[in-house]
Symmetry: C2
Subunit: 383 residues, 2 copies
């Protein structure tokens, strides 16, 4: 793994992290959470990289969030003990969760239904384990969770508490924020997320059930909330790198995007205004998250090798190992000097639509500063 | 890695290969190529798995195609020597290609432009290596290559031949076939692919340049060609697993699809007719290749755990580790018994839109027969 190597010596395609941008993103979010008076629990699913999580913890994060038990195992092995597994628990994953807790991991799990809550309680009692369980609350209708005023909230709370588990609190994720793009709409959804989760906590407490933790978050709502009254912790993931989807949502500039893909021009179709690069969808992911947003970046925004945006040029198409670079305003516009502008062998960087998806295509990141690879960081995947 | 395990003991999400289907797909394609009198060189990029490639070679494949030099290295290490790297060569990858050849790998490379051809010849002469090079021909306008009648074909041929390299032949890939869906259109494109590539070969030979290999192929055209006169070899990749895109193109039935994702139901939103499963886009990939086809399967077709299609149910949405299972005809249709139909903990299989993209999300495949995991096969990724 090359370190202190100039980018010209890096095989392409490769995933680059512009380290000063990442550090700035981490500092910005942590400062905001400190100012709002809440704990911050970053979501490690974006990077799946111990070096990134260490930087978040060093900046003040308290515990992490994960999307798979493999992430929990990997980060626990790296010394993180306070871990929230933020995907609904199912019976057959309980032995794996138990094994982590038996090793000393303070693993918290979640559920949004009585069937799973009952299974958790039965398994816990059978194994002599008191699981810490949060109830998932649905505050924006986009995915999982119990609505704050549903009867099921109390049923599930009772199944856990009366079943001998530790009802640790409530959590929600307003992922619907990814579909917005105005400050007012984001602020309103952040308040809806806060209010709904606090409401759920109050209902549980009114029934005499414990509910210490009130956990909310998504990158857009975390950066848009005006008040977090009643909230004890916030979670966010993609803010660490940002991406073009977040840029369209309106919570970062392209200069904040810390993850990019280093690629090389391999050919042209000059009559179509195309340069062909060696970053196809395997390098960028198939994520087309900007397709329905105000500005469609195709498979990514083209930058020069130093990361300066080349406005108007995007990856308009992608095969497995081929990207088609052309003007964003259509393949029909001839750009006859394309082969002179982007000669064979030229390196470029591509900003991704969705950092979580693009990062997942790589086994390592090159941490870059001043155009030089300072360190190479392993990234894990799978389940 | 569990073997001879029932599926109920497999952690989800997981990639399953229904081995009898894969063997049937391999036999079908090989028999067709034998009948048409051409060599068959499967594309290993779909599976990136030595067990799969071995099965193809055992059935009669002669050499393989790869999309990255890492694939070349991995399959060469497993004993395959005749390898075509079917992505345009660029100067900085030449040392890696040279290293493979020096170890005894019969690696063939390709180019479609004079800049790269000149760089290959200069590097080859400087290193005392005669590279085998094919010229990439564009027969359908979908990506890279020189059109059969362009002057550049001869320029590039001369740069290679007169530059001391071995001009091995011409190759093309009619990837535009993925956009078709009638037998007549597929047959016509297969003929266009054949005729264009043969035409390019004839032009080179008329100039006194060697051109022994005439290599064509994509899964749809390989399965639709009526004549391959003048062609010496065919390449195809996704046929080994097939997928929903290929089903929509019309070259396989859903019963031929050998790759699926094993998943578990983790919750519901009964008022919306949703079941939530633990296969999100990380498990399925972000590929939405059926979106523009006659039938849109969302993020995948839902099957029971034995692989029987549950007609009308697809993954209509996907977050990183959450899939939303509902009726394909819209999230608004309430399916109030969804929680009884798909209870928490139930296992299902999901057929993928695009096998190459879904496979790439996994480090291993479970080879299944009669509902039992017979073997677990490693899959590699990266570059």
């Amino acid at each position: 793994m090359p370190t202190h190597a100039a980018l010209i010596n890096i095989d392409t395609p490769a995933a680059l992290i512009e380290r000063p941008r990442m550090q700035r993103n981490i500092a910005r979010m942590q400062a905001r959470m400190n100012a709002l008076g809440v704990r911050f629990r970053p979501h490690a699913k974006t990077a799946k990289c111990t070096a990134v999580t260490r930087a978040q913890v060093a900046a003040g994060a308290q515990g992490i969030t994960v999307s798979t038990l493999k992430e929990a195992e990997q980060f626990f092995a790296d010394g993180v003990t306070d871990i929230l597994y933020a995907v609904g628990m199912v019976p057959h994953k309980l032995p794996q969760a138990l094994a982590l807790r038996r090793k000393g991991c303070d693993l918290k799990i979640i559920t949004d239904n009585a069937a799973a809550a009952t299974a958790i309680a039965e398994f816990g009692r059978a194994q002599g384990e008191v699981f810490d369980v949060l109830i998932e609350v649905d505050t924006d209708g986009h995915r999982s969770g119990i609505k704050p005023d549903e009867a099921a909230l109390i049923t599930v709370g009772r199944a856990l508490h009366d079943g001998g588990m530790r009802l640790a609190g409530v959590m929600t994720h307003a992922g619907g924020s990814y579909d917005l793009n105005t400050p007012d709409a984001l602020t309103a959804l952040a308040e809806q997320e806060r209010a709904g989760c606090v409401r759920a906590a109050e209902r549980l407490r009114a029934e005499g059930l414990p509910c210490a933790v009130v956990s909310v978050g998504s990158t857009p709502t975390a950066l848009s909330a005006r008040s977090l009254e009643g909230v004890t912790e916030v979670r966010a993931g993609v803010y660490v790198f940002f991406d073009l989807v977040m840029h369209n949502v309106g919570v970062c500039s392209t200069d904040d995007i810390a993850l990019s893909v280093l690629t090389t021009v391999i050919g042209h179709q000059a009559d179509k205004g195309w340069a062909i690069v060696d970053a196809g969808w395997m390098a960028m992911s198939r994520d087309r998250g900007t397709q329905k947003q105000p500005r469609d970046y195709g498979y990514g925004q083209v930058c020069d090798v130093n990361g300066n945006v080349l406005d108007g040029y995007v990856l308009t198409g992608a095969n497995q190992e081929h990207g088609i670079l052309s003007r964003a305003d259509g393949q029909l516009q001839s750009d006859v000097d394309i082969a002179q502008r982007f000669p064979v062998g030229m390196q470029l960087r591509i900003l991704p639509n969705h950092a979580c998806a693009t990062g997942a295509q790589y086994g390592e990141y090159h941490a870059v500063e001043d155009g030089v690879v300072k360190e190479t960081w392993a990234r894990f995947g799978g389940w």
